[in-house]
Amino acid sequence: MSDVLDAYPQLLRGTWTTVQLTVYGAALALVPALVFGLAGTSRHTAVRALNRVYVEFFRGTATLVLMYWLFYALPLVGFRFTPVAAAVLSLGLNVGAYGAEVVRGAVNAVPRAQYEAAVALNFTPWQRMLRVTLPQAVALMLPPFGNLLIELMKGTALVSLITIGDLTFNAQRIRAATGETAATFLVILVVYFAIAQMLQLAVRYAERRVDRMLGRRPDRRAAAAASGAGAVKA
């Protein structure tokens, strides 16, 4: 066990790579999630079809196979990706497909009356989406986004298969060097778990902020004012 922990610089480097891949992958996933998710709420059949094609293709493709394609197959026809670019792209596109479904569902779940009030105030279609519908939809997106973020983080372990020195990759090398199989895997189990908890905390924080914006969770002042009138509605 102490041999494994002595390799902590290598573990730290790997952890840092895993965190970076998670952040880049999530940032990249957000773009198709929003673009294709919103496309899925369009009234134009052709635009909605874009959503279907993207979602079905990338949801139905194994991330690892996509990664192999980007890293090993596309260079044969002249497209060359660095390992990190291939990893981030395949993780982001895959998680983005799930994210697009989350966005579409959340936007459709905002009550139609809100859209109608926005029409009555003569907002343009873009303003209706940006100022009224989307901010309310975000509250519905955050919990499933939290799940996807953790899925994405765990999915980064696949990048060790295209030679990126992430936590799993470095763990393999420590295991080979020390022969301590159980100890090595126990350590990275704990590290992955800790990262997941950290992400979960961040998502919870964002949820609380959005809930407050929507007046769902009264801040202290409002709670004090409402406590006089009895129970506070959740």
């Binding site: 009234r43 109608e116 009555a120 003569n122 009224v132 309310q136």
Partner: protein, 304 residues
């Protein structure tokens, strides 16, 4: 962006006599020397600027359910009209058509001297596009039964967001206007509150202020007190009475509160199955209805 499918009906030809004004037939205005028509006075108060409304053979169906069948009616500039009638008779549909939340399936709706549901193109009227609707909606405001305040904004931003983004007011002007309106509806102290912290009656008063912040010329009110607890109804009704008294808005109001209807309206239209059964001044409709359908309806409402 939720769908509003354009109607598939062929374009409607413009009416032979475009309604440059929409005065009731009783007061047909003469041509002025410049050859333009004089603005027609509303029945009770002169309304400068508030447009009239005219439904011309308006058809609305939902699937196979024909809700409005070639409906014709006119509201004079500045007139206050109350729509009454049994559930499902099409009252809400009429207001939603005017707010462009629904599309007509036939006929034309006119607001002032311009078509609302259609736009002129090459001498013909074609179904209105978003640009035309945006232009026409500037004149129209609506208050909903369920208030529909934006939960992602506090009271102040509910009132300033559209004036700033849509009318192009500066933030200071919009805040100033919001303060004045909140003062009028008696909620100056709630300016920073969140909609969820307000009672139903307070939310509805904010919603009324929000609609007025856009300075509409036509105000549509759809059962604005029927979602309120009984003790909150009076406050909202008093506010609307004041607005009716102090403004020259053209108002269309759907309500089951007959005393309120009597106070604010010049004319009452009794609907049944998408048709006007009877119309007249509130005193006559409520005290001496001519039609059996109206008598039955009023009886049922008063009994409840």
């Amino acid at each position: 962006m939720p769908p509003i499918d354009p109607p598939v009906d062929p374009p409607v030809d413009p009416p032979a006599d475009p309604p440059a004004d929409l005065a009731p037939s009783a007061s047909v205005p003469e041509e002025s020397p410049e050859g333009r028509r004089l603005p027609a006075p509303g029945p009770a108060r002169p309304a400068d600027g508030a447009p009239g409304i005219r439904f011309e053979k308006v058809v609305k169906r939902f699937g196979r359910n024909v809700v409005l069948r070639e409906l014709d009616f006119t509201v004079a500039p500045g007139e206050r009209v109350t729509l009454i009638g049994p559930s499902g008779s099409g009252k809400t549909t009429i207001l939603r058509l005017l707010m462009t939340l629904e599309r007509v399936d036939g006929g034309v709706i006119w607001v002032g001297d311009r078509p609302l549901s259609h736009m002129p193109r090459g001498g013909r009227l074609v179904p209105a596009g978003e640009r035309h609707l945006h232009e026409m909606r500037k004149q129209i405001g609506m208050v909903f039964q369920q208030f529909n305040l934006f939960p992602n904004m506090n009271v102040l931003r509910n009132l300033t967001e559209a004036p700033v983004r849509v009318l192009g007011l500066s933030r200071d002007e919009a805040v100033e206007r919001a303060r004045r309106l909140l003062d009028m509806v008696g909620l100056a102290d709630k300016i920073d509150a969140h909609p969820s912290q307000l009672s139903g009656g307070q939310q509805q008063r904010v919603a009324i202020a929000r609609a007025l912040a856009m300075e509409p010329k036509v105000l549509l009110l759809d059962e604005v007190t029927s979602a309120l607890d009984p003790e909150l109804v009076v406050g909202v009704q008093d506010l609307l009475r004041d607005i009716a008294r102090d403004s020259d808005l053209t108002m269309l109001c759907v309500t089951h509160e007959m005393n309120f209807a009597r106070d604010i309206s010049d004319r009452v239209l009794m609907f049944d199955r998408g048709r006007i059964v009877e119309e007249g001044p509130p005193e006559r409709i409520f005290e001496a209805p001519a039609e059996q359908r109206t008598r039955d309806f009023l009886h049922a409402v008063l009994a409840s």
